[in-house]
Symmetry: D2
Subunit: 108 residues, 4 copies
């Protein structure tokens, strides 16, 4: 995998501990969030549409994803498998007929 | 895509604004980080090896990934393309012969 | 100080390293943010007014503040002094006649 | 209060909604955490001792504290009162004779 050899070639493996990588994911997620910190419309569509902010959004999304893949790789976790499992369990937990148009999920 | 129809069937699209989804990614990333908050070894390998914590780690990784995919989908961003672009630009920015065994990257 | 003896009486000092405490502040901050994750009004006034959510908001604010005080105490930093210094430097950085009604600060 | 007039003089009140301020607290907390992201010693004492990193730590601590005070002010919450209440409830929840030298608290 490209990321694995990228880190190996630079001997960065020693810094890529689970705790450090979890920290990195949080830090990058906050950098994405920062782009919406004072969004006027409160929903963030303006930021997504603005070319210069959009470029930053893409940077941060890529950073989060790469650290996520790196974490999973170091921990021996199959990202695709756990994502599919989660979708299946969410489908059971939130049946559409009960949760339509509601965000009750998040309050209970 | 599975996630898109999952949200559509529940009319959750109205809540899935970029700002809300960026918030969700940050919140889930912090839930992952929380699992390493007091790690004794400071590196987090114990947590990854412990079956009950590992199950929680997988849950949080899946949550982050699903919100990431959802955000990209709503914003019309191709996750795979931006990840590849980022790897390519990192390879130029951090040449292995200059950055081997160093984490100088992060200090400068 | 109450917090110092609280930790000392429980031998928690060994876990209260700067990195761990910085992690705790981030985790608690995300728990506060989570309460506004799906806020309908997008501004969060409803949550502040709702008695049961308000109680949780107060819990999270207290957690952040206590970890902040703990961090400063362990690192030998005078919170009041640095807060006053910051207010003074912000006043110079953002003169009211230039920044009135503008959030330009955050874009530049 | 100094912060209140600071924001009022700049008409920033309109941006200081609870959701935006909770976002700011999280963003600043992550900026503090970022300073420890790759800490070699894993505990962060080196960063606290390094003058240039220490200056940044102080900046971030001040930012978190000021947004915390601002949030409490806008929401009409008495920070000192909730901090004292929390210390009292923690003292009951974690009796020293049961929790000495243990971080069991965080696992259960």
């Amino acid at each position: 995998m490209a990321l694995r050899s990228f880190a190996a070639e630079r001997d960065w493996d020693q810094f890529h501990t689970p705790k450090n990588l979890a920290t990195s994911i949080s830090v990058e997620a906050a950098e994405l969030l920062e782009l919406f910190q004072w969004s006027r419309g409160q929903k963030g569509w303006d930021e997504v549409a603005d070319p210069s902010i959009r470029a930053k959004i893409e940077e941060e999304l890529a950073d989060i994803l790469l650290y996520l893949i790196r974490f999973a790789d170091k921990a021996g976790i199959d990202l695709e498998a756990i994502a599919e499992r989660k979708i299946a369990s969410n489908a059971i937990k939130y049946p559409p007929e009960k949760f339509r148009g509601s965000d009750r999920k998040y309050d209970e």
